[in-house]
């Protein structure tokens, strides 16, 4: 399986209240890259992620996924495109009262007839695939557990399994480890890294800690006030760049 390519051109997002969240953003992502997006809270990382699968409608600019301009797609075409873009969230966004397996299978909804939803029906082979994906993230025994019974790290792994059900060409991970402790953060990021290395899925991942960004990213894009202020290799971010991105007062905090 080959990852998707992404090209963003002059992307602007202005919220109704006048906030200019993204201000003329342009960069390319080649298939199979692990792109880490860093930046302060409010720098536009989440908005950028959501513009890529149009959970948020961009104000202007173009986004090409595999050379298809997604900003001009209809809602129906957009839904079909979203099926191949997995998304992982800071707050996991699982349906807490549903079982883990139902949460995983919901990643498959774009592929099944909507009427099946009334009976919560999924074909046998997809249930088997759901179980396989749960096994892949190391929690097959939790399939029948309610999602809110799981620990944070386990919930995020369910989120990864849900994204895997989509057989994605690209994964958007919006601060996937910001709610987790350091040890769990590494375990979750290792699963995402594995998808990137083994399956060749293009990954866009926003992170808070520069140490994590350096460890996992093949490339880093830094946002500041809705603009790209750095685009390059992890090793090129030095003390000066760090101050530039995070402000003069910032001190780098290491995460083990």
């Amino acid at each position: 399986m080959k990852g998707a390519s992404l090209r963003i051109e002059h992307l602007v997002k202005v919220y109704p209240d006048g906030t200019r969240a993204l201000n003329d953003i342009s960069f390319d992502v080649t298939p199979g890259e692990f792109l880490v997006i860093i930046g302060l809270s409010g720098s536009g990382k989440s908005t950028l992620m959501r513009c890529i699968n149009r959970l948020i409608e961009p104000t202007s600019g173009k986004i090409y996924i595999d050379d298809v301009d997604i900003t001009s797609l209809s809602q129906k075409e957009m839904r079909e495109l979203r099926r191949r873009i997995g998304m992982i969230f800071q707050q996991f966004n699982l349906v807490k009262r549903s079982s883990v397996l139902t949460n995983v299978l919901s990643g498959r909804l774009g592929y099944v007839p909507p009427s099946w939803a009334l009976l919560n029906y999924f074909p046998k082979d997809q249930v088997a695939q759901g179980m396989a994906n749960l096994a892949r993230v190391g929690i097959p025994e939790k399939a029948r557990t309610r999602a809110d019974q799981l620990s944070g790290g386990q919930q995020q792994r369910v989120g990864i399994a849900r994204a895997l059900m989509q057989e994605p060409k690209m994964i958007l991970a919006d601060e996937p480890v910001a709610s987790l402790d350091p040890a769990t953060s590494h375990s979750v990021l290792k699963y995402i890294e594995e998808l990137n290395k083994k399956d060749g899925i293009t990954v866009l991942c926003s992170l808070h800690f520069l140490s994590l960004a350096r460890r996992y990213g093949t490339r880093i894009v830094a946002l500041k006030a809705g603009q790209v202020v750095f685009d390059g290799l992890p090793k090129d971010i030095d003390e000066q760049w760090f101050r530039n991105i995070y402000g003069e007062e910032a001190i780098e905090v290491e995460i083990a």
């Binding site: 959970l55 839904r79 979203r82 998304m87 707050q91 699982l94 009262r97 909804l109 939803a117 958007l172």
Partner: protein
């Protein structure tokens, strides 16, 4: 480096203790006024609590001996024709094989004394003698005790009775009636218990039907009353405000008042109670449901949308799982409240157990009333427990 001398700490004036502050004294004066007026206007008279004990005692005593079990009652009932006017001879009633009555004289005058003798009654039992006028009104004139042979002899005074317009005629023909009643056989549920049980079932179902009608209307209305879904354009905002206003007004009207309106509308009986509870519950449930819809976590909606699901699938997988358990919990809770409500709705004629409870109290049948009170207590407590258990399971 030169040693800097720290400035001497300035003494801080100790604040006045809180009970000396002007604001506190003002508050104290205001509260005193409020409670003094409250005491007067509600006519609080704690002395009545002790003076009134003798009135409430029979009720309290009977509360602990409700009419639940009873033996089958058997009755011997014999009548004897009498007359208070010699021109009209006493009736000759057909003789029965059982007990018989005889009188020292069967032609009597009002106020005179007459000896009544009975034979063949149940031995060693107590009975009652009634004087019965022409139109069948009994008036108790004596109690008697039969001997080992089942006989008794009692002197009675002929009472003044209502004789009706035809005072000169047939109304003079009156009767003496002897009644011996006793209980025999095994204990079985009393008649009161059977009536109460029937009414308890009616009460629970009254609440169930009222709640069900309320759900059917409250669920769609609650979506119209959810700000996060409706307040996206001026039309939606208007609908939202109208729905919420309806909820708030209807919720503030007690079901008891609604029941009075509905007894006038559809007549006395449980249907009026069902309608009253339904109308009130639409508003209560609607408000609770709307608030639940407003408080759902938008995260799952975003996540399911991001998988490429259609809007219907998003509702099914991201919205429904979040609102169904609390909806069930609220509904059971409302049913629980409605069972409690329906016990009093009968007081205004809305059906259910309150209807007969009020009758028993008015007739001073405290033992029967006690049966109804206990039944209400048990049902309400059981519903309370059941609803708490269900809510714990689903939420």
């Amino acid at each position: 480096m030169k040693n800097e001398v720290l400035p001497a700490p300035r003494p801080i004036a100790a604040p006045r203790p809180w009970f000396q502050s002007g604001r506190f004294l003002l508050l104290l004066a205001a509260l005193t006024l409020v409670y003094a007026y409250g005491w007067r206007v509600t006519k609080i008279n704690l002395g009545e609590l002790s003076r009134g004990t003798r009135f409430v005692k029979p009720f309290v005593v009977d509360l602990f001996r409700p009419d639940v079990l009873a033996r089958e009652t058997k009755t011997q009932d014999v009548q004897l024709g009498m007359t208070i006017d010699p021109r009209f001879p006493p009736e000759q009633l057909p003789a029965s094989s059982g007990p018989t009555l005889s009188a020292s004289t069967r032609v009597v005058a009002v106020g005179s004394q007459v000896t009544i003798t009975g034979r063949g009654f149940r031995s060693n039992s107590t009975g009652t003698l009634f004087w019965v006028n022409r139109i069948g009104n009994p008036q108790q004139v004596a109690r008697f005790q039969t001997d080992a042979q089942g006989e008794f002899q009692t002197v009675i005074t002929v009472p003044e009775t209502f004789r009706g317009p035809a005072s000169a005629g047939q109304a003079a023909q009156q009767r003496v009636r002897a009644q011996v009643t006793w209980a025999e056989g095994p204990l079985r549920p009393s008649k009161t218990l059977l009536i109460v049980l029937e009414k308890v079932v009616e009460t629970v179902f009254l609440a169930l039907m009222g709640t069900t009608f309320a759900i059917i209307l409250a669920v769609p209305l609650s979506f119209l009353g959810a700000k996060n879904l409706m307040a996206k354009n001026p039309l939606g905002t208007t609908i939202y405000f109208i729905t919420r206003t309806f909820f708030n007004i209807m919720r503030s009207i007690e079901p008891l008042i609604l029941a009075i309106v509905f007894t006038v509308w559809v007549g006395l009986g449980p249907f009026a109670g069902v309608m009253a509870l339904a109308l009130h519950s639409i508003a209560s449930l609607g408000k609770l449901y709307s608030e639940q819809i407003e408080s759902i976590d938008p995260g799952p909606i975003e996540a399911i949308t991001a998988t490429g699901a259609s809007p219907l699938q998003v509702v099914r997988y991201a919205v429904v799982p979040q609102i169904v358990p609390p909806f069930i919990a609220f509904t059971i809770y409302r049913w629980d409240i409605n069972v409690r409500m329906s016990t009093v709705i009968g007081f205004v004629g809305g059906g259910g157990i309150g209807f007969i409870l009020q009758q028993y109290i008015n007739l001073l049948q405290y033992r029967q009333a006690a049966t109804a009170v206990w039944a209400i207590t048990i049902v309400v407590a059981a519903m309370d427990y059941f609803s708490a258990w269900i809510r714990e399971k689903v939420v």
